[in-house]
């Protein structure tokens, strides 16, 4: 066992969702694989404030990406982490409210919201604290605590013969990852792909979902996206993101954008470029390069250019070498 492997397996697994192991990023190898056929559309839409008309901006981006949701059962998956409304840890309630409105407007058969936080068990009160109940119409009737939903098994996931996922997730036709644009002191950045950790049920795997740490953080991110990425869409809340010691203890960083697309690898790679991070150095993006596009020449950028919205997010010491040239 190498020192790096040791650190990955022990430290990461023991300290749970907070992480702390330097070895989660890779030095940039010479070339990424080509990835899937064709290019991926990613829309970068400017939204300077949560009081902007977010629904119109979101609609503009979704149309630029050519997403058709008519007749589909849509599950919105925000990033709800902590009781702390004064910070930018959680996906902003205005973004979720706008998404509910937009997906109804686009003809979805139903629009639900689901989340299963990694550490805190009181999901509903946390949603209340994040003003979800106040700002999202009929919130309680459309929300499912994914940690405590009924479950069904999926075969051969994360090294398990049977792995269990919430029925609300398995039954959705489209899962919209409403992630927050944040740095992550373990993975480099947490965006739409990492947000899928919240679909793993705590009632089976605990708080934190330690099984994922033992399987490996990048490995789990990729496995979850291999499982659900084909029926996913991403809308990343970068209106105000988090820099520094994210995903919980960092500081607010206005980026003034919503980033969206059906290729979550391409969306997260684009977000990284907006944040001044080189996506080709982020281990889980490299590992997911067969699922979607990391390289900029394979991404059809819609809306704003990267150059016009790029704002370097502060990186912790361990991740300084992720900085995009």
């Amino acid at each position: 066992m190498t020192r790096r492997k040791f650190a990955l397996l022990t430290g990461a697994a023991i300290v749970g969702g907070y992480g702390g192991i330097k070895a989660q990023k890779l030095q940039k190898p010479p070339k990424l694989p080509d990835g899937p056929a064709g290019n991926s559309a990613v829309a970068v839409i400017r939204a300077r404030s949560y009081s902007d008309d977010l629904a119109s901006r979101m609609l503009e981006g979704i149309r630029q990406c050519g997403l058709d949701v008519r007749g589909k059962r849509v599950l919105l998956k925000p990033n709800l982490v902590e009781f702390d409304p004064a910070t930018v840890i959680n996906t902003n309630a205005n973004v979720i409210a706008a998404a509910v409105e937009v997906f109804h407007q686009l003809g979805a058969a139903e629009v639900k919201i689901g989340e299963g936080p990694g550490h805190r068990r009181d999901t509903l009160d946390m949603a209340d604290d994040a003003r979800y109940r106040a700002l999202i119409p009929k919130f309680e009737s459309i929300f499912t605590d994914l940690n405590r939903d009924d479950v069904s098994s999926v075969k051969s996931f994360a090294g398990e013969e049977d792995f269990y996922f919430p029925n609300t997730v398995l039954g959705a036709d489209l899962i919209v990852s409403l992630a927050k644009m944040k740095t992550h002191h373990w993975a480099g950045a947490t965006l739409s792909m990492k947000n899928f950790f919240g679909v793993v049920p705590g009632s089976v795997y605990g708080w934190p979902k330690n099984k994922l740490h033992y399987y490996g953080i990048p490995e789990s991110i990729v496995a979850l996206n291999r499982q659900f990425g084909r029926k996913a869409f991403a809308i990343v809340d970068g209106v105000i993101g988090m820099e520094g010691n994210g995903p919980i203890q960092g500081t607010p960083k206005p980026a003034g954008v919503l980033v969206m697309g059906s290729d979550l690898v391409a969306v997260d790679s684009t977000c990284c470029r907006v944040m001044g991070i080189d996506p080709e150095k982020v281990s889980y993006l490299r590992m997911a390069a067969d699922l979607g596009h990391v390289r900029s020449e394979r991404i059809d950028q819609r809306g704003e250019t990267i150059a016009s919205v790029r704002t370097n997010f502060e990186l912790t010491h361990d991740f300084k070498d992720l900085r995009l040239a």
Partner: protein, 296 residues
Amino acid sequence: MGELYLESRQEFLRANQNPDGGWGYFPGKGSWLEPTTYAMLALHGTGSDPVLDRAWKLVRSWQRPDGSFRPSGEVNDGTWVTAHAVTLASVRGIDDASVRASVDWLLRVVGAEHNMWTRTGSFLHLIKARLDVSHEGWPWREGNATWIEPTAHTLVALKKIAGHYRGPEVEKRVRDGEQLVLSRRCTDGGWNYGTPNMLYFDLPSYPETTALALLGLDGVSDPAVSQGLDVARKFHAETKSSLGKAWLQIALRCHGKPVPTPAEGAYTSHDVMLASLELLGHPKGNYKLFQVGGRA
């Protein structure tokens, strides 16, 4: 005083028992062992014997050949809820071979970090957290690391059944588990899920896990327990978490600490686990069932 509070929650639980005898986390959902345990403890001694008998029959059907318990009928794996089943057996006065198999399973399971590699790594400062990995504790699932909540539930269960086991193993694991909980205390005096420090930054404690840690430390005489109780009282006054407040009511009462009686009022949530824990933590509730030899 408190009749509406108690009756509305008891009625909510009785009305939402599933036909199979168990309770889901929410009405209309499938039965799970965790909410079923709390509902059974909350209704214990309230004249609900047929209701509880049906629930116990379902719980027992979830035992695996290795003694562990599945968390629901849909899940095949044995998990941390095995401790709940042992606690229920103790409350119901059952001590048979199947209960002993569950205790044996609990005694066999340890946090995965309790191995030579991790202890050596900790010694050499390869793990970027101040973490004492010398104690065993219990994981959510076999093969994973130790965390506060499953360790606390297991300590409660093992302390309750310890009188039936004359060998040293139960006592040894209990004492070591208590030391683990004490070692995972946050610098603010409370407990979070089990990582008080990461990247050499101190992490804050949470209300619900502080309460659970204190339940696991029932009977322990240590200044850390007194400090933890002070933190718990502060959390109780300030937390926005209904779940946290409910667990704090239980823990503070079990430690004999004064805690305000919950405000009178009918139950308005749809959360089965919360209704049960709020019932258990009421001054007239069954919170003592979490204690060694506790009777409702």
